[in-house]
């Protein structure tokens, strides 16, 4: 399935835009997505950390993804 991944902060610089699309097997997990993203964008591995958000909530590594989810990459936050 195709997944659209929203990007913010430094992730937007790494993707070269506010979103990217990855092709990933059905029922892929959050950690599967991270592996795929890091293969496509090796600079992600240099970040202090990053999370994946699914439908506006921080996701667990084992969480399964679906094509209808809104998925975002959340690099280290720095508000305030």
């Amino acid at each position: 399935m195709h997944l659209k991944i929203l990007a913010f902060g430094i992730a937007r610089d790494i993707f070269g835009g506010s979103q990217t699309v990855v092709e990933i097997p059905e029922n892929a997990t959050v950690s599967g997505l991270k592996t795929q993203l890091e293969a496509k964008y090796p600079r992600l591995q240099k970040l202090a950390s990053y999370m994946i958000a699914v439908n506006d909530e921080y996701a667990q590594p084992g969480q399964t993804l679906s094509a209808t989810d809104e998925i975002a990459i959340i690099p280290p936050v720095s508000g305030g």
Partner: protein
């Protein structure tokens, strides 16, 4: 009672104070973040803030609800700015009212500390010779 706003326009301290003012309260604690002119001795020209807005509001709502459970406080107002801010401008205001001051101080500190850890808002420091997304790299 919780008031949360993300705004591209300048924030107003009095708006937050007026919102948390409550006759049952004996005090209001306010944290105001301001744009500092330097980081580690290097001059900062401006900050650029970006938010994943829907999720940021949801996460702010969660931490405010947690604060209302943890401390005997009455009202919370959290306003956060997005966009480009110059030195001296205000990126964040947190105001908390409570019957007694200890709860207001503790809750206010919890809110700003937790905001900085969990709420999907990012700031970029712009220097004369480059720019850095704060906290991105170890």
């Amino acid at each position: 009672m919780i008031d949360i706003q993300l705004s591209e326009k300048p924030l107003d301290v009095k708006t937050c104070l007026d919102w948390v003012m409550d006759p049952a309260c004996g005090g209001i604690d306010v944290f105001i973040g301001t744009v500092r002119n330097a980081t580690k001795g290097k001059e900062v020209l401006r900050l650029e803030f970006e938010a994943y807005e829907r999720m940021a509001i949801k996460e702010l709502q969660k931490i405010c609800e947690n604060a209302l459970v943890k401390w005997p406080i009455h009202r919370i107002s959290v306003h956060h700015r997005t966009g480009v801010l110059q030195v001296g401008e205000i990126p964040v205001i947190i105001a908390v009212s409570a019957a007694h001051r200890a709860a207001a101080f503790d809750a206010c500190r919890y809110l700003i500390d937790t905001l900085k850890e969990t709420v999907p808002i990012w700031k970029k420091e712009v220097f004369a010779d480059g720019e850095v997304w704060v906290a991105a790299h170890p």
